[in-house]
């Protein structure tokens, strides 16, 4: 198995580019619940301005890794780095996250944006300008006064992405943002992600969708048993995986992991 510290180096050797500086990273990152290790000694560096896709079977620790990197939960061991220094409040303010199920306040579309921007410290005309551009970005101007929670799932997720981007983060985490959406809504969300990336936002996204990973990912981190077992350019990892876990998952043999590599389950293996 590759050693975590070598991972990013491998990615850039394969692409032949010079490695861009890391925006977020981890050293010896571990997380356990009741002494059951769910994230094991992960070292990683996410390059700034790129799109990193995190993949792996259910239970591999993808969402957990995102939450650790975003500072939503504290690691049991090791630490998260933001631009080479331990993640602090300023670093967290420069990040945003979109969840699989959008969490909308029980208020209007516009009030949801206002709340996020107010919490972010924006006031007056500056805030109103951001509200307008976020509504336009989400193409929800005509629904500004509508209660956010009566919008369709796709509209709510568009609002969630626009709300996250309204605070102008340097890095956007997305945890399976299109997992419960129809193709049209998925396309709209992917466009928003592409626009954000074009504007310079670093993207770190979890997805189960191989085609989406190829469309949106510069490179892929493949996780299994709480570790990153493979990393490289998206097309290479998804077309010619080197790790057993990635091969098994891409061939449909691996669906669910218990967090314990020895007990990972494959179809037909109902032990």
């Amino acid at each position: 198995m590759l050693k975590p510290a070598d991972l990013m180096e491998t990615v850039w050797k394969e692409t032949g580019e010079a490695a861009p500086p890391a925006i977020v990273g981890a050293r010896g990152l571990s997380y356990a619940v009741d002494r059951r290790p769910l994230i094991r000694d992960i070292g990683l560096e996410i390059p700034a301005g790129r799109r990193t896709v995190v993949m792996g079977a259910n239970g591999a620790g993808k969402s957990l890794l995102l939450r650790l990197l975003h500072g939503l939960i504290s690691p049991t061991d090791g630490h998260v780095l933001w631009k080479g220094r331990p993640l602090d409040a300023a670093g967290r303010r420069a990040q945003a996250m979109v969840f699989q199920r959008p969490v909308m306040l029980r208020r209007s579309v516009l009030a949801n944006l206002q709340f996020a921007l107010r919490v972010h410290g924006l006031r007056g005309p500056a805030r109103r300008a951001r509200e307008r551009s976020a509504l336009a970005l989400a193409r929800l101007e005509h629904l500004a006064g509508r209660p956010a929670r009566v919008l369709s799932g796709g509209e709510q997720q568009r609002l969630a992405v626009a709300r996250a981007l309204a605070c102008e983060p340097e890095l956007l985490f997305l945890d399976e943002p299109t997992a419960s959406l129809d193709p049209a809504s998925t396309h709209a969300i992917e466009s928003l992600i592409q626009e954000a990336h074009a504007a310079g936002v670093t993207i770190v996204m979890v997805t189960h969708d191989r085609a989406q990973a190829l469309r949106l990912g510069d490179h892929v981190l493949f996780m299994s048993g709480g570790r990153i077992v493979e990393s490289g350019p998206a097309a290479r990892v998804l077309d010619a995986p080197r790790s057993e876990a990635a091969q098994a998952w891409l061939e449909g043999r691996l669906h669910f992991e218990t967090g314990d590599p020895e007990r990972s389950q494959a179809p037909g293996d109902n032990t």
Binding site: H70, A96, M97, F99, V103, H120
Partner: protein
């Protein structure tokens, strides 16, 4: 008295019917004494509920939204206080306010203020405990999003209270129901003094014991009607909120 005027098998029922008719007559006649009693009841109860909400809503929200040492103890105490026996609260407030009590110099005993104090003590734990439950449920939904946005503690309590506003109306309603129907505490600290501290419940108790059933029943009808109107209004507001997915 009427119940003893027995002329046949159906006499008690006839008695009830005639009492009810007289009661309705009293209400329709807009009897000034009746109005005074109803007005004082509403003033005392609404003031107590308002103060209880001012204390109970933020307190309940804080307990519901934050983890801190002793949180379980606070929750258990709040839940236990929900069932405070009114007469015990009345007695405590009486002892505090009586001439020899620590707050005796304020001379509040047998005033509407004393009744407000007693009812506030009864209603605050109800508002706080129910608010805690409502806010805790909502916080479970919002916590991760708020943490991601970096929402501070004050903004968090404010947003949770605002977003739970329609559920909290029901919480306030529960407090109102407890306060308006309460008799044990207000009769001890208010003394049921005519034109001063006489409210609906204490009047009903007094007039019933005097055998003046028309007035007692008239007030009972008014009390029920108020409860029905307030409940219907809150349900209507909630229904519109549900349609907007705000509740």
């Amino acid at each position: 008295m009427f119940f003893f005027r027995k002329t046949g098998e159906n006499a008690p029922l006839d008695g009830f019917g005639s009492i009810l008719a007289e009661a309705v007559g009293l209400i329709l006649a807009w009897d000034p004494d009746l109005i005074e009693i109803i007005a004082l009841s509403l003033r005392v109860t609404l003031t107590a509920v308002a103060i209880a909400c001012l204390i109970g809503l933020p307190l309940g929200a804080a307990v519901g939204a934050f983890r801190f040492p002793g949180r379980t103890v606070v929750t258990v105490v709040l839940n236990a206080l929900m069932g405070l026996p009114p007469v015990v609260v009345g007695l405590m407030v009486y002892l505090m306010l009586s001439a020899s009590g620590p707050l005796g110099p304020l001379q509040l005993l047998y005033t509407p203020t004393a009744m407000v104090i007693a009812q506030t003590i009864l209603v605050t734990p109800i508002v706080a405990a129910l608010t805690k439950q409502v806010v805790e449920d909502l916080n479970r939904e919002y916590a991760e999003q708020f943490a991601s946005m970096g929402v501070g503690p004050l903004d968090r309590v404010g947003a949770l209270l605002w977003d739970a506003r329609y559920s909290l109306l029901t919480v306030a309603l529960a407090g109102f129901g407890r306060a308006v129907a309460e008799v044990g505490a207000v009769i001890i600290v208010g003394g049921n003094i005519n034109h001063v501290t006489r409210v609906m419940t204490t009047t009903i108790a007094l007039e019933t014991s005097k055998g003046n059933l028309q007035l007692a029943l008239a007030l009972g009808v008014v009390l029920l009607t108020i409860a029905l109107i307030v409940n219907a209004a809150v349900m209507a507001i909630r229904a519109s909120a549900v349609r907007a997915a705000y509740a």
